[in-house]
Symmetry: C2
Subunit: 330 residues, 2 copies
């Protein structure tokens, strides 16, 4: 398939680099201020994509992907628009408009950007219903972990809850606090030095990132199980009960350890609720994944509980989920 | 979709019972000696399936599913043939012929029967290539665990190995031996009393069942990664190096525990090898699942390691995988 990649951060660049290995062509790439569009064919009618290495190098050296305007990428001849711009809340712009443009042109959309899926799920479904294009968003939850597609295969009406450790930054901090007996501020600094936490870590440590992922899952469960999607409850971040890890003292972890337990930031979604909070879990139990690992636990009606753990973030990992979605398109 | 279910054991019966919840109609059911075929429509052209409860009750009371001949089920008007007869080795009959009949009629096939996929993968692919019908077989590996579809989504060429605990009977025995300090024969008897092990347990405890699942995975990796499937190496059970658990003494488990380890029957498949053997693993590690649980560990080139654990067997669990496959058909 021909891909237009909107967003040239770690995820977008990884999609550009890896698309060829999956048999796809990247025909356009855009970041917030620039674009590059391949206008070539190979002489026998086949599409020729952009020069992936050149695009990535240009972004690294000059901060732009090309000399074109982002609108040119949105107008290019692609089969699938990959939306990998930063997650924004509320109106989820500009990502939502990118998605709308593609769907109004009857093209497919694959999202890594959580904004449209968490904050405007109803609008997203309405656009998809009126389009010949499909919308997929595995990469919005759990990086390399096939959370959304597994819920989809089991059928949302046969899934009673999805919970897990969905943010690697918060999990890394809690793991290190427990392992070293250090307090939050100390470990946060360490995480920032390692590049595991951002200069402003609030999105991760306040539980917002985990909550957005749970909102996405709640929307999948709610709409998937509804007899009539028009009646389904739509979730946004505002519906989530969210508590982060800033107030977890080192003493709680030490006390927990004496009891064979530890603390993890656990997010849970059902078709009715979304909750993120630090919770006590068995030290050697399934939910106590370590470091930046994520785990998704799916409770089913007929098949018991499924646990899927792996890398929840990263350029190649998230690109893997995006390209898996492209493979699943019609 | 309209399903013909061939095989009325625990798995076949669960498919008959659960198909309706997934929006499918069961139009025919067969066991080794009988069949029932729905000949009805609902007056508006829609298909009417068999009476699921009546079929299951009839099988329980009289040992047959109906008064028809199995050939009638194979000749019925269905979209998907579900092959859920017992796994047989070598020529994989009669299951292979059921699959061939359906594909020659350009119908889809979904297998729980490992025989055709492990022992005649090349023949199976050839039939599928000449048919308008597709072949899927998630249910042949890991019960409710989405092993095959996850490898498919990541792409076989991006998977370097798949390993795990793939047989719940053997795992239950090893778990109990370690937990109670009991020897193999004692725990085997307990497992048989519980219905976790069969009267003749060899298929499970000798590692054959786990090996067949690994052979299926090796075929998926080998053919999936080949530039030209005609050149791909085909695996059968004969290619597997297999060692079971009969000779694991209680003393090994006790020694292992002193070192924070335990023993699990681990199967591993790559595009080049298939091995099943008891292995020492960390006691609290990912591979040390307990009881009848299974775990599948997928090593990827771009997304690190994925671990998926859950119920590896059972009627509803395996039916869930079958119905997930039906949902994924064209």
């Amino acid at each position: 398939m021909k891909l237009a990649v909107i967003g040239a951060g770690a995820v977008g660049r990884s999609v550009v680099e890896l698309a060829g290995e999956h048999g796809h062509e990247v025909v356009a790439v855009a970041d917030s201020s620039s674009a590059v569009v391949s206008d070539g064919t190979d002489g026998s009618g086949g599409a020729v994509g952009v020069d992936a290495d050149a695009v990535v190098a240009r972004k690294a050296e000059r901060g732009i992907v090309g000399d074109g305007d982002p609108a040119e990428a949105l107008a290019a001849d692609y089969d699938v628009l990959v939306e990998a711009t930063p997650t924004t809340l509320g109106d989820a712009e500009p990502g939502f408009s990118h998605v709308r443009t593609a769907l109004e042109r009857d093209r497919h959309v694959v999202l890594a950007n959580k904004g449209p899926v968490a904050e405007r799920y109803g609008d997203l479904r309405a656009l998809a219903a009126d389009s010949d294009g499909d919308v997929r968003f595995e990469a919005t939850v759990g990086g390399a972990i096939p959370a959304v597609s597994t819920v989809e295969d089991i059928e949302p009406s046969h899934v009673t809850a999805v919970r897990g450790v969905l943010n690697g930054t918060a999990n890394f901090i809690l793991t290190r606090m427990a392992a070293e007996g250090l307090d939050y501020d100390h470990v946060l600094s360490e995480a920032q030095d390692l590049g595991v936490a951002e200069a402003d870590p609030s999105f991760d440590v306040d539980g917002t990132d985990a909550a957005l992922k749970c909102v996405v899952l709640a929307n999948v469960l709610s709409f998937g199980a509804a007899d009539d999607p028009a009646d389904a409850r739509e979730f946004t971040l505002a519906d989530a009960s969210v508590e982060g890890i800033r107030d977890v003292p080192g003493s709680v972890l030490r006390l927990a350890a004496e009891d064979g337990r530890t603390v993890r930031l656990i997010g849970e979604a059902t078709g009715e609720t979304v909750r993120v909070a630090p919770r006590l879990v068995p030290e050697n139990g399934t939910l106590a994944v370590s470091g930046t690992q994520n785990i998704v636990q799916i409770e089913t009606t007929h098949a018991g509980r499924l646990n899927i753990s792996g890398r929840g973030a990263g350029g190649p990992e998230t690109a893997s989920a995006i390209l898996g979605d492209v493979g699943r398109l019609g």
